[in-house]
Amino acid sequence: MTATEIRASSETLLAVQAPRKAANLAQFFRWLILFLGGILMIMPIVYMLSTSLKWPHEVYNVNLWPDEPTIENYAYVLEDGRFYGWMINSTIIALITTASALLFDSLVGYTLCKFRFPGRYIVFIAILSTLMIPTEMLVIPWYLMSQQFGWLDTYWGIMFPGLMTAFGTFLMKQFFETVPDDFIEAARIDGLNELQIWWTVAMPLVRPALAALAIFVFLGNWTAFIWPLIVTNSVEMYTLPVGLASFGDEADVAWELIMTGAAISTIPTLVFFLIFQRFIIRGVVMAGLKG
């Protein structure tokens, strides 16, 4: 290498360094913002765990680490027989609603996406528009309906509003758009009926969306509070959030017990999330394949 060449390359190096410094600074601020956001997100969880380790008298103290940490609360909650019943109720309800919502949302989403029929657009808009109605407004009609049908204080009564979701239908419809029509027509030529095509061709290709929807729906039902509170009467029918809120008495809310129950009840959601998250990641990799 000649001298001039060396000079030339070191000059380009210098020229590159200035913008890189600016990029580093931008990168630093990006990380800072993410870090602060992360702290903000994790604080409630930290406080949940910290409160669950406190004695009742220390609950309203904001210290992060309890003066006298105790696992007494865990012993109390786990020994209280009601807790297991609520856990089972919540598990059954969340699993059934998740399975049902996945099935119906993807069926309807697929139909709205891949079939041309009169009124298709109107149906789609009608489903979407229900997204604008808040749960609080629906609770009264649901209640009246449940009363008429004798669904009060039953699993069915707790579950029925969530068996199909407008959001999930919309999500699935959008994701089915990514499945090429050729795939469907090729299967049609090969003699599959429409239900088989949906199941063997379309569904495996939208697995990431199904996993995401499963997580949304499961968490939504696991943490649902207002409707289960209203529709249930007997303590045995309570779901976890409703049951936990019933800890304590009229005058005093037992926060340390509620937080303990909440901490325990995050474990199933964590497990559920970890299982389905794998599908999301694997699905994204698969979607990279082009024709």
């Binding site: 090429p180 050729d182 090729a186 049609r188 030529i189 290709l205 698969m286 024709g291």
Partner: protein
């Protein structure tokens, strides 16, 4: 084994008519290529034959029976799509076997058939792979295998090679042709590429705006184009079109020269004289093209020369070793049988 007959087939999407009165008779075992510019209705025709689209008017017959009301799976056809339509979540084996899902065969018979097809397509060692681990050409082969496995009477191909690079396309062209000789099924192949059409077809169907322009063997459509559209579409570079007028002594061209020896043309009739670049040869006496060479395009074994005639540009092929210099004056003519005369208004051939 089956012939395919389209009778006054028409198709409209809403108010737009995309196919008009398509009549076509395809013999058993024939390799027919539908060719035409993008949007001319080739895919729609193919999809109607497959049963993926309904005909607005007319009938489709396969092996002598009208299939308009049959489901695609009952028509004894298989289709290969432009984007292959092989499933990314299934192995090659599953993809090829997909066409057998509804077949009444035992598992062992199906396995045997899949492996036979894989052998024919030379991809036995790829059976366990997923499509993401295959090259474009291999994916295309899987798609063909999937169509072959059911041993259909008619294969439908919709631009199956257009996603491949030029070299692979040439190779696959040959493979599909060999495959046809082997399976002896009827093949209807759609492409917008006239070279593909010329090289593969027993017969070519040239379409434009939903209307068949000409049906014929590659040699027929090349040597006897029915109109100016076909004349320009087939062959590269395109046929030269020289405007002129009929006279008693032949055709008087806008370039000022006369062409004699062609068909008799009524006096004063406006015509287009079509002549392919490769048919133009230097000739001092009977020349009907004269002008200055403006550009040379060497292609190796030959050189294209662009000649400015004063009334439009003419492309001619010249010897690759000693082409006329740029700026030099050339006089060109062609044998009368290589000159095509078209009506200037309708574009129809006058022979």
């Amino acid at each position: 084994m089956a012939n395919v007959t389209l009778r006054s087939l028409g198709k409209s999407f809403g108010k737009t008519e995309v196919l008009k009165d398509i009549d076509l008779q395809i013999e058993d075992g024939e390799f027919v290529v539908l060719v035409g510019p993008s949007g001319c209705g080739k895919s729609t025709t193919l999809r109607i034959i497959a049963g993926l689209e309904e005909a607005s008017t007319g009938t489709v017959e396969i092996a002598g029976r009208v299939v308009n009301n049959l489901e695609p799976k009952d028509r004894d056809i298989a289709m290969v799509f432009q984007n292959y339509a092989i499933y990314p979540h299934m192995t090659v084996r599953k993809n090829i076997g997909f066409g057998l899902r509804t077949a009444k065969k035992t598992r062992a018979e199906k396995t045997e058939r899949i492996e036979e097809v894989a052998r024919i397509l030379d991809m036995t060692d790829l059976l366990a792979r997923k499509p993401s681990q295959l090259s474009g050409g291999q994916r295309q082969r899987v798609a063909i295998g999937r169509a072959m496995v059911r041993d259909p009477a008619v294969f439908l191909f919709d631009e199956p090679l257009s996603n491949l690079d030029a070299q692979l396309r040439t190779q696959m062209r040959l493979e599909i042709k060999k495959l046809h000789q082997r399976v002896e099924s009827t093949i209807i192949f759609v492409t917008h590429d006239q070279v593909e059409a010329m090289t593969m077809a027993d017969r070519i169907v040239i379409m434009k705006d939903g209307v068949i322009q000409q049906v014929g063997t590659p040699s027929e459509v090349y040597h006897k184009p029915a109109n100016t559209f076909v004349a320009r579409f087939i062959g590269a570079p395109s046929m030269n079109m020289l405007p002129g007028t009929g006279t008693d002594a032949g055709i008087h061209l806008k370039t000022g020269l006369n062409f004699t020896g062609g068909p008799a043309v009524a006096s004063r009739r406006e015509v287009l004289l079509g002549v392919r670049p490769e048919d133009l040869v230097p000739d001092g006496a009977a020349a009907f093209v004269e002008g200055k060479v403006t550009v040379q395009e060497p292609l190796g074994h030959e050189t294209l020369i662009y000649v400015d005639t004063g009334a439009g540009e003419v492309i001619a092929k010249a010897d690759g070793r000693r082409p006329p210099e740029v700026g030099s004056q050339v006089r060109l003519s062609a044998l009368p049988e290589n000159v095509h005369v078209f009506d200037a208004v309708t574009g129809q051939a006058l022979t």
